[in-house]
Symmetry: C2
Subunit: 480 residues, 2 copies
């Protein structure tokens, strides 16, 4: 199995384990262009499930999908100074069309605020046009200079970006929180990854935003991963791009804007959080295949009767909308097949051999725990349906316990430094809100503020760094 | 209405009519980047319906979606000479990442054969890996130098590209025809646009293909529009990118490949074919909204009872999965609303006024014919369901009749020239298969061979240009 199975243990060399799982489970591959990747069918199917859930939620709340060009004139990016400064070091530039040099070079979108809002300025006339709630699914390019990593950091990735315009600051704030909570819901209840939500500090916010909120979690190596952001842009971009509306008061007002996004990085988080030494474990709600059926033995005794029975079971499950693979290939042994489908993380395996046939039963094996059960033929469908829900729940609970273990509240900077170096994870502290303390901690430990939770804790202890009065609870961590 | 309604008649100035409908019905807008467009929500929703239907058909036949990078190294494009020559004049080039010039410039994909097949060469090992049937939905860039036109020709557009590899030439041919027929089915039965299918002549085939098949139709101005292509790539790319498999015979073989695609251009075709002087007419199967309900009067007498009843009807229709707008805005008159929703092409309008309320009825108006019917309240749902199917069918029949009128069989070159200049459309002729005749006809009339149908007609008459023995029936036309 060494050339097809995972050869590295997750808790021995996490980074190498991750790459092996991604490549061997055929989720992605390195592209011939440096820093880029190919999203292969099983991973793209997960992305399609995420799209389905997000689309359902955004459409139900009146957001609509669109498509804007990926080319952004340099002058547009430059209009919001902070935004330009934040993104230009990572922009890929088109300078030539056919054999002709372009008059103005064009950025491949690193994000679409500028091009979208130049149009909002034209489309929005009066309060009747508000709120404007638009979303797009597209590719994004950021010319990373840091080391890239499959799904987590690549020069091109896929995402969804919501961009809304509102009449009032309050409505805009509500939207920012709505998007953030939608992400939390989907990441926890679909991908089974528990998260923290909160705001970012000034130094970590989106370039051009009033403030940024985010969804974060801790990966098994103790590093934090940002998995979604929702920005309150205030009126910054509205003023730069002249996005105004005539109110019911007949006066001109600038709109209030939000933007929010999640990316294919979520697939990387899912792999890291749930996988084990055998490979991937897919949460049932995004699994491209729910059940694999393996007839045993694959040749010889009772072959035909077993083939007929497994086909019958496959049909019953498919008719209920489940995605099923019946692996009746003759050229592989059952053991080889078990390994392959475990590597690919299919939530449930059904085995059926001669003795099972005689006893009108099957063997059901769940991928998350490895637990085997004999199930009467008549109970297969209900067992599978319950089990898929159980697996989904169990994966979230397990991950939640791990997140809790990886979260440490500390009261001294010595303890802070010790935790950063040993177990990592979220380190919960009090902070005086002074950016200098934050910068010093980053410089000295590599840890940054990942999340400032919305609920304030009282009484606050003193700032972990300077010892002055603590104003915020902050979760620090080293991060991806 | 002049600033919101269509001011030009379709049969007076078709080109201007088209632009007005697209802009005023808010299907698209010009982007700030020359030659690019924004696909607005109502048009994007049509694209999503097309995606849904195509995905259903390709997944049911074992194709799987993926995502490949949009950057293609120049050396890759150069590997298949004909392919390179065909595409380079239209390639947008990335030459700079951040502040650093790239060592090798990167093409933004004009199509993905080269980057995909460089990976197929790695992924395909033996006959067990075949067929490989992969599809992707993505953006494509072709740096057009011709005048651009919303949906029909823009520098960036969206498409789907299927790329398959097969063990045998026969299997590959079957796939090419499968894709072509799938497109014909979707374009006719979902978009209600009748088409011809057939092969392209050598001079019109895809750069690098063995042969190209296509789906074409005639637009109301008499020009042909190519709406989908399916290419048999033979072993050209397999040989260049070394895509080989070990057969059951233990020998190495090159794979046989197909590629096929449809684009957002289909939305343009839908607008052109079905629209009228009032604006758009959406085929029910892709309409983002099926039914608009307008309460009459919008204020005064019986207002509350009418509001309650229209809401009740809206709920009944929504519960059946229909997309419904209840336009109860106070600030517009019913007449204004009728015009707006006709402009947007919503298939069915329901009106409900005080007299209707008293008589337990509604007025139902179909967009395609303008026909009004009084319908008993209890019959609304079944009437709407039948009517949507009727409208869909009627739109196809109407368009089919027009296509027939726009197809002329001619036997002399004089007649050919006269038809090209007068009514345009498909001109059906005999052709000797000599590329020189084809080139001369193009030079002298601007018409090219759009389709060579699969069924040969016998007896053939002589070649329309040179008078020698006719070998093929060919449909010529001027085209977009």
């Amino acid at each position: 199995m060494s050339d097809t199975g995972v050869t590295v243990k997750k808790n021995i060399d996490f980074s190498e384990w991750y790459v092996e799982v991604v490549l061997k489970a055929e989720l992605a591959d390195y592209a011939p262009v440096k820093g880029c990747m190919i999203i292969r069918p099983d991973a793209y199917a997960v992305w399609e499930k995420i799209q389905e859930v997000v689309n359902q939620k955004i459409k139900a709340t009146g957001h609509r999908n669109t498509y804007f060009p990926m080319f952004i004139p340099e002058t547009f990016l430059k209009q919001e100074a902070e935004h330009f400064e934040g993104f230009t070091p990572e922009v890929a530039w088109i300078t030539q069309g056919g054999n002709t040099p372009l008059e103005e070079k064009l950025a491949v979108r690193p994000t679409s605020e500028t091009i979208m809002y130049s149009m909002y300025s034209k489309w929005i006339r009066s309060w009747r046009d508000l709120p404007l709630k638009i979303n797009q699914w597209c590719n994004i390019v950021r010319w990373e200079t840091k080391a890239t990593k499959l799904f987590l950091r690549t020069r091109e990735f896929l995402w969804q970006e919501g961009h809304t315009a509102h009449a009032t600051a309050e409505e805009c704030e509500t939207e920012v929180m709505w998007a953030l909570n939608m992400y939390k819901d989907i990441i926890e209840n679909t991908l089974a990854i528990p998260v923290l939500i909160g705001t970012k500090s000034e130094s970590e916010k989106f370039a051009g935003a009033l403030y940024t909120t985010a969804v974060e979690s801790i990966m098994p190596d103790g590093k934090a991963l940002q998995m979604g952001t929702s920005h309150n842009l205030g009126q910054h971009f509205a003023k730069v791009f002249d996005v105004k509306y005539i109110g019911e008061d007949k006066m001109d007002h600038f709109v209030w804007q939000s933007s929010w996004g999640i990316t294919t990085r979520l697939i990387g988080a899912m792999i890291m959080i749930h996988g084990d030494d055998k490979g991937l474990i897919m949460p049932p709600k995004v699994a491209p295949t729910h059940v694999v059926i393996v007839p045993i033995p694959f040749k010889g005794q009772d072959t035909e009767a077993i083939a007929a029975k497994t086909q019958e079971i496959a049909e019953i499950l498919k008719n209920k909308g489940l995605s099923v693979i019946l692996d009746d290939r003759q050229e592989y042994t059952p053991g080889w097949k078990f390994n392959q489908w475990e590597l690919k993380g299919i939530p449930i395996r059904i085995e059926l051999g001669p003795r099972d046939l005689k006893n009108c039963q099957v063997v059901i094996v769940r991928r998350d725990t490895g637990q085997k059960t004999f199930v009467k033929e008549t109970d297969i469908l209900t067992t599978i349906e319950t089990l898929l829900q159980d697996i989904q729940n169990n994966m979230l609970i397990k991950a939640r316990n791990i997140l809790q273990e990886k979260t440490t509240a500390v009261k001294s900077y010595d303890e802070f430094k010790q935790i950063v170096e040993s177990k990592g994870g979220f380190i919960k502290v009090s902070w005086c809100r002074n950016p200098e303390c934050e910068a010093k901690i980053k410089e000295e430990t590599g840890a940054t503020i990942r999340i400032i939770p919305f609920e304030k804790e009282t009484p606050q202890t003193n700032c972990i760094y300077c010892g002055r009065t603590g104003k915020d609870t902050a979760y620090f961590a080293r991060s991806y």
